[in-house]
Amino acid sequence: MAKAVRASAEQKLEENNRRWGMVIDLDRCTGCQACVVACHAENNVPVVGEHEATRGHSMHWIRIERYWEGEYPNVKARFMPVLCQHCGEAPCEPVCPVFATYHTPEGLNAQVYNRCIGTRFCGAACPYKVRAFNWFRPDFPEPLDQQLNPDVSVRQRGIIEKCSFCVQRIRRVELDAAASGREVEDGEVQPACVQSCPPSALIFGDLNDPESEASQFSRSRRAFRLLDFLGTDPAVVYLKGGETNV
């Protein structure tokens, strides 16, 4: 048996006190849907087609909600990106009968695709309705299947899926850092949506590290969390838009 000479990458992961979180600056978000397409591309999220999209079967992991306020001519529209909030007290986790969704030590609400048997209890329990279900066999007509990201499994029908904060990117950065013997830097992990966002409305980082950009923004005067009163302790912090900061 080989002796462990120094802490393995896995051990290091368990020892850190990280809580991954995201800050969404609603003053910067323009509703451009770049994050939506980037997420589809990175995570092998299937396209369901017009008929199924009309029936409520689409599978976007992140969506831009658009709100109307007022009446013509004093009408305003606002955008709010909604994705899995990776709640600290997630209502979706205790209800899964097979532990397909659980909380990782780094604060992610993880979904284990090959464990899911598709009871959809988690979907019903989630107040943000961010969980997508594979209502059909996902269809990637050739050669579109050549684009599939090998770091993310392709799910079959009957499985729930949702935003994972691009856990495959988190893992890659953490393992690379551990293998190189250095720490993960703030801003080194960028989920696909964060990386693509043109107005830089999305910020990702360790909420437990007070120096990280995400952490600092989460302490902004403009900060709020979605459906706070439910006690879900989300890891996504929104910054209210439309007000001067001076």
Binding site: G56, V95, F99, R115, I117, Y128, L230
Partner: protein
Amino acid sequence: MSDHEPMAGDSVLPERQSELSQEYRERLLLAQRTDAEINAAVLQPMMETGPKFWITVAILVAIILWGLYAWGYMIYWGMGTAGINNPVYWGLFIATFIFWVGISHAGTMISAVLRIFKADWRRPITRGAEAMTAFALLMAGLYPFIHLGRVWKFYWMLPYPNNRFMWPNFQSPLMWDMVAIFTYLIGSSLYLYLALIPDLAMARDHSVGWRYKLYRTFALGWRGTEGEWHKLHRALNIFSVIIIPVFLSVHSIVAWDFAVTIQPRWHSSILAPYFIMGAVYSGLAALATILVIVRKSMRLQEFLRREHFDALGKLVMVAGLGWIYFWFAGFIVEWYGNDPVIRELIHDEITGKLAPLFWLQMTANVLPVIFLTFHKIRTNLKWLLGLTLLINVGMYTERVLIVVGNLQRNYLPFDWGTYKPTWVEISIVAMTFAGFILLYTLFSRIVPYVPVWEIKEGRLRYSLRRIGRLLVPTAAEID
């Protein structure tokens, strides 16, 4: 019959007395029939199957086969062939699941609770009721499989040791469902079977061919000795006590599937007792429906008499009152509390998109309660049949409103939805209804429907005694 029934001890005119004793004798089957005649009366409809029976079976089998095809189609192509979607993740399947679990409560109510209260009128009904329980639970037990996205992995919900040390999550109400329904199913099946043994023995003694072989196997060599009777009674008494907490917990657990989430209108502490009350209401009504039909089709008129339906109707009415109370208790708190999403849901129900279903539910559940207060209606079998069917339409609608109606709305209006069932769901639901009816029909032809030994036991309790010039029915305490 006369309106005024003399109580024991009233002075009675001689002419009336013979009328009364006639009535009592009929009621209690005293001196009316010999044991052998009773046996024959029960066995004959069981053994005879006319063309109507086979046509019914053929239709039911056809519906079941079509339902199985729909289920296979759904497994192969995916759950999207049903009408469930985001955000209405649960639909007709779960609503029907609750419905069947609810129906199953009648059996326990009748055979266990009434046994403990020593209500004698239960005697001809207990087996029919227990059979209803067992088959309703079987149908209910199909739904945890039907609604699974990957049903071929269902066994991961079973706790078995494996090389990944993965156990199911017992924190999940679905696991409690598994345990509770399984327990209830085993319990009530055993209860049903135990009470069946003496009659299987009786049937064994009166049949030939495959029936003889079948009954001989399942009668377990019952000879009717005192020791055997003693053990049987002990077992039935234990069961009737134990099954009650099981039946209370099963539907509470099914209710907690919803109540433990933070979905508006699901997250309510009254949901568990409300479901139980609704289950008793719905189950008893279904029982009455079934008994009216079986009485006619199996010519059991002398076993299932007016007084049974009268008593059953009273129970249904009381259960209905209970349901109304619990519905109102839940409603008043929600309506008064004025939570915005709940306000929206209530509006939807009363005047919005769900209004047709909601008012159907209220009419179908409340109206029968009013009607059943009348003895004339309770004992008019056509009325009883119509009203109890209406009750179950109402109760089914109630389940659909709870599951579907509340999933259509939530805290984020952007993510509201609409549900419309497809042919897949309707076919599968029809399959379970047909399955229930088929099982019940076959059961009634394989097994003596009326519990003969219990009736005879009841007869033993009663006698008419002459005290002076009075004829008084007396009852003896039997263990």
